[in-house]
Symmetry: C2
Subunit: 508 residues, 2 copies
């Protein structure tokens, strides 16, 4: 008989170590978050996945409103000619967009349907809305009294990506796009940075996903932007994920869309605009930051359910007793609040084997699992298991109820601390090309996804170096960190002088 | 000198009596709700209008969840071949739909952009999602244990309407569409009726818009439905507005999409499905139910702001005192609740002439206007004006604060009672063709929009009669009311026997 090495059993196959990209898809499947649709590149966001998006929307929307923004809605379609007005913008988006050319279907001579009613001008399904919103703002803005305009839109957008991946890159995705107009460069720049901070705060304190705030290099900027700010997070395969962007658009779109205002002195000026967005991609970031080999781990602040109560009993008499206990426990827990909202608890009394039921909730990432059996009734207690650490404890009922928010916060804090520690462990200051190359070259050529992480390096500021990084190492400059200390050094590629280190990494 | 007859001044020109359709557009403009976009038939929903939609979403979503539904998201695009699977469905929607035929833009020899990358199969921008969701459900449903599926989607949809009108009929609109799957006809029918009741409850108790619940005639059914239920409201021009529909789809879509399940006995069965939806059209209904010649009137339960406080002062010293009073008053009001939510109050301290400011809020339809001047400070009071009746009263501050919810509810109740009375006044039981004709013929041929209202008539059940009503009177059967008592009679057109009266009206 051959002996196999002992391997811990995991709920997800393959594990992260075995095959990270496939693990990601299996976590999504096991948690029932989303699936590919019959329409190429478009996903179906299933109820559990959509409730994550609802919670993201709820919390972000409150932050947008707290910073003075209101919501509005602009058309799905953009006339083709609008895209052409901003040269860089059209170059960035024309290559992959859904084009509407007809307004009805008609049966042909063969009885089969075919497009009919050709449009005079083709319409683009919005890949982003700077141009259509800009055209509208041009009508709204006449005087400095009309400024600032601080509007956000929750919407779907379409970018005809060739290689798609659930949540991370899909042909259609859900997002929010803020579009603001200001009288001065300074005000617009302040807005751009303010919203970047809102994103960073949300990522760290709601998603427990630490991020680096920075600016993009010229080559990585949003098409048409003067400056693009971003938040970058490290996933568990040590790749970077751009999780949100905030753009200072200068007067580029104001000029192409003709957004002008009369200033206090009566002079006509072009306005300064910004735009900023995050999308359902955040859900992909959440998965790849926290999920483990047993499936999804949802940070409590975003959890559709904070806890699940699983009643355990042998017979009908036991069932009635245990269920009554669970129901009153649920009621007491639901009367508690976590970050100002009621604690959400569900009782799972489905007729399923215990193991199947327990693993179902583990794979869905519910922060706390509470099991109640006859012994707990007798003791006035319950068994509580943390999803993040797997720790289990029998806790007196009163303590469980009064301490529920603290228990959830402990998970929230641990997830953030764990993710920060992971990032720190895989971030290295690198000063030579040799070391950089080895950092980004997998030890095992069959596992190219296992590489170093974030390299903090000096850079001469040139596009040539970026090109070489991309071609030779498949690495990009993720951002020039906002909080990077001035530290003169030499470019890791050319040896030329550099004022500070930038973040280099492979990326999604 | 000629003498003009005295005419009361109104904030909206023209008035309802002068030109109803134009009045409607001017109310929308004056309240800054929405405008036509540069894209034909698509509207821009401006912040004040969008906040109405946000409140509609908030309240309806809570009702959907309370009845066991969850939200999800399905693709924007539908492959052309899907539409063809259900014969009636394709006939209903193929005539007006946006067709995506290309996946990118390319500069041609003349340097101008043109569609490129033709798709193998054209995609339709969803006009409704029965087919794409049905295809997905077919994969999810295997056993009776997978049923019911109770899912709702908040989304944008596109129907290439030729004649558009803000909120009432636009090429793109926002809506929710529920799509459910059940094991039995009875369960599906119960769901269909349950959601109709949710809509009726929402219309009456949140929008203060009374509705008649009923079923559509065969000719007015949703394409592919076995039975379409609807709620019908009367607008102030006495036309009917279909404000929401709930469809029992039978096994039609289950068959075309192949949604089958193994029942408890092990036999394979086609499921029974439903769909139900309301849209931004509700905002048009709210306007035409409550707005008056001074502009919008928002029912308190949907109001973005329940009250506005307008400080009145002469100089800077007065300003400081009055503003301090307003701020503490605002704080006290905001600590009160109305239907479980904090009362929302804004202070308008803009540097505008008093009249302009006051009329601005009147036109926006804010339920209560509170004016605070030096005299109110001295008396510990405030002047309160109701938007619905125009009544003004000076009220002691403590009474204003403690009674704010009752004051808002009084407005809510009055709006509903007023709308009900209007509907009753313009609803008539009619038994002869002559009377019906005169009821629907304007007394003044230059004002064809002024006609009778709802005619409750007997009908022989035939499509021929419906055709004649449409052709000769431009009247349709709005619904066969659910609560109509059995009352044998004779068809108003043919004299043939009829078991009960139906609602006939001109309609949007």
């Amino acid at each position: 008989m051959s002996q196999q090495p002992a391997k811990p059993k995991t709920a997800i196959t393959p594990t992260r170590a075995d095959d990270y990209p496939e693990w990601y898809l299996q976590v999504i499947k096991a948690a029932d978050l989303a699936e590919n649709s019959p329409v190429r590149g478009c996903m179906v966001i299933k109820p559990w996945g959509y409730s994550l998006w609802e919670n993201i929307q709820r919390d972000l929307d409150a932050k947008f409103k707290a910073t003075g923004h209101v919501n509005a809605y602009f058309p799905l379609f953009i006339p083709m000619s609008y895209l052409e007005k901003e040269a860089q913008h059209v170059e960035g988006f024309a290559k992959e967009c859904a084009v509407v050319t007809h307004s009805r279907l008609e049966a042909g001579p063969d009885g089969k349907l075919a497009p009919a009613g050709p449009l005079e001008e083709p319409l683009i399904v919005r890949p982003t809305s700077e141009t259509i919103i800009g055209e509208t703002y041009a009508k709204w803005v006449q005087s400095y009294r009309d400024l600032p305009i601080l509007i956000n839109q929750w919407a779907n957008v379409v970018r005809w990506e060739m290689r798609t991946r659930l949540f991370l890159r899909t042909a259609e995705f859900l997002w929010q796009e803020g579009h603001t107009v200001h009288a001065t460069e300074q005000e617009a720049m302040e807005e751009t940075v303010r919203m970047l901070e809102v994103y960073a705060d949300f990522a760290e304190n709601h998603m427990a996903m630490p991020v680096i705030q920075g600016t993009k290099t010229a080559g990585e900027r949003f098409p048409g932007a003067v400056e693009t700010f971003c938040i970058e997070a490290m996933m568990q395969d040590r790749k970077a994920l751009q999780a949100g962007t905030s753009h200072y658009l200068g007067q580029n779109f104001a000029k192409s869309c003709n957004i002008r205002f009369q200033d206090e002195a009566g002079a006509l000026q072009h306005a300064h605009t910004t735009s900023w967005g995050v999308s359902t991609r955040l859900i992909g970031g959440m998965i790849m930051t926290h999920a483990d080999d047993d499936g999804l781990v949802v940070p409590p602040r975003l959890a559709p359910q904070h806890a699940v109560i699983i009643p355990i009993y042998r017979d009908d008499a036991g069932r009635a007793e245990v269920l009554a206990y669970c129901k009153s426990l649920r009621q007491e827990l639901a009367a508690q609040t976590f970050h100002g909202r009621p604690v959400t608890v569900t009782i799972d009394d489905r007729d399923l084997r215990g193991g199947e039921k327990t693993w179902g909730w583990v794979k869905k990432g519910v922060p706390l699992r509470i099991e109640v059996g006859p012994r707990d009734l007798a003791a006035g207690a319950a068994m509580v298991a943390r999803r993040d650490t797997g720790e289990k404890a029998v806790v007196p009922r009163a303590e469980l109820v009064s301490g529920i928010a603290a228990r959830l916060q402990a998970i929230q804090d641990n997830l953030l601390a764990r993710a920060k520690a992971f990032r720190e462990a895989h971030t290295r200051r690198i000063d030579t090309w040799e070391e950089l190359k080895s950092f980004f070259t997998a030890a095992n050529p069959e596992r190219p996804e296992i590489h170093g992480g974030f390299a903090l390096c000096h850079w001469n500021g040139s596009a040539e170096v970026e090109k070489r990084l991309k071609e030779e190492l498949k690495v990009t400059i993720r951002c020039i960190p906002l909080n990077a200390p001035a530290e003169p050094g030499k470019c890791v590629v050319t040896g030329e002088p550099s004022p500070r280190r930038v973040v280099m990494a492979k990326a999604y």
